[in-house]
Symmetry: none
Subunit: 322 residues, 2 copies
Amino acid sequence: MKLKLKNVFLAYFLVSIAGLLYALVQLAEQLRQKDLRISQLQADLRRPPPAPAQPPEPEALPTIYVVTPTYARLVQKAELVRLSQTLSLVPRLHWLLVEDAEGPTPLVSGLLAASGLLFTHLAVLTPKAQRLREGEPGWVRPRGVEQRNRALDWLRSRGGAVAGEKDPPPPGTRGVVYFADDDNTYSRELFEEMRWTRAVSVWPVGLVGGLRFEGPRVQDGRVVGFHTAWEPNRPFPVDMAGFAVSLPLLLAKPNARFDGTAARGHLESSLLSHLVDPKDLEPRAANCTRVLVWHTRTEKPKMKQEEQLQRQGRGSDPAVEV
Amino acid sequence: MKLKLKNVFLAYFLVSIAGLLYALVQLAEQLRQKDLRISQLQADLRRPPPAPAQPPEPEALPTIYVVTPTYARLVQKAELVRLSQTLSLVPRLHWLLVEDAEGPTPLVSGLLAASGLLFTHLAVLTPKAQRLREGEPGWVRPRGVEQRNRALDWLRSRGGAVAGEKDPPPPGTRGVVYFADDDNTYSRELFEEMRWTRAVSVWPVGLVGGLRFEGPRVQDGRVVGFHTAWEPNRPFPVDMAGFAVSLPLLLAKPNARFDGTAARGHLESSLLSHLVDPKDLEPRAANCTRVLVWHTRTEKPKMKQEEQLQRQGRGSDPAVEV
């Protein structure tokens, strides 16, 4: 009996010790796990927060090549300042400014240098034979033909840059080419409409051709005609400001250029007929229902008082650039 | 002896049970604490990260209040789009656009809403007696007088805003007021020239008054005369685009406003003579040797073809805003 009781307690003693140790080991392991988790979480908190979402990489956008012919006149600097400030609002834009002059002028060179834009400065004088005679109405001879073709030559690696970016776009560059005269008015929205042009995109132009606007007629997302008063049967009755051409397409058609001898109103067609079938034009600006460019024209300032004062030797200081 | 041994084991039995229970309770409490800590840390991680550092406080700059009278015409939207895009390049600018109309028009309201600018939309119709008659040359009656005065009223807490920011600048606001018509051309540099105006600052204006430019003559940093062909003896022979006034000065002189009955070319003087002595004008733009604003005028577009097509029921779609 004595032994019996002792053995019972001894057995219990050993069992309880074992149980106690087991429980302690288990709990210690749980504590270690949780300490590990805590230090992990603390490390996560110390890690810097993820950078805020960036605007889409400009490198991802096709470049917009804006071709602007310009010529010396009283309002030239005002027009170019106004236009350059509009272009400065557009990402991934390259301005091809082409002077109608034998070489670069100080006024335009200084303006480009101060513009902060990526630019290429070109210059080509319009041959005398093609120049507008004194008193001739503007429509007799189209202006800017030589200059736009010089820009096309530069894009096609034929050189000619006098300042700015002198290397043409490398092969395979994604881009679009737009011919923007220096007197029109451009909404910044227009440039995003043209950026992803596949071949040739089109949209309405305000205050042109004697109408509130001219532009393509669109049905089911396709161009089916044109709203215009002047020769609606021209192959492409669109204004210079009303279309953009993809750069790869222009480079694939080396003969596509402007023909200065084309009949009145056919200058745009002389380029576009090399590039696209009218039915394949890509309507933009909400199926051509939004006017985002206006064919504005700036009055020629009268200089009567200037001439009077100059005769008296009191003319405006010529050292001040206007 | 039998009993003794029994008691020893019994005592150990009770003590070990108590110890075991105590250990379990302790450990369970530690586990609870750590679970709590873990859920706290997880909550911290879910909290959004702090906003990234902002660009330097524009609040440090005086506000430029640009007052622009405008009236309905074919080129109105083009002009306002062009101007609003220029103003969007200027920090800390507040556009006060005042329509010459009984109330706000949808065209201007939509344009302001889309501009992204801080603006106040005002409207006041020019009384019939002061309106330009058909065929009258522009200089007979100054345009925009009522509209500029309405903007001055708003700045002086007399209300009248129809949309946008309706509360006038709080007392003590540092700012400058500039009267910018919707057809001129403004370099973005001009606004930084005027921002720190103490009383009234002045600079040249290009292509105005029949001259290449009009502007103050400056000697030793002071205005000693004016280059102008028209009535050089006017108190202030400056164009509306050629000066800016500090906001505190305008508020300190509640009677300073434009007098529509002033003689031709004296409209600017009718305001400025309340505010400053000509010799205290502050020359800007490199002592008035740089032209940063041009008095450009946009041609009225011809609508001959539009009228022809409308007679044939084929006019431009009136649903398209131009």
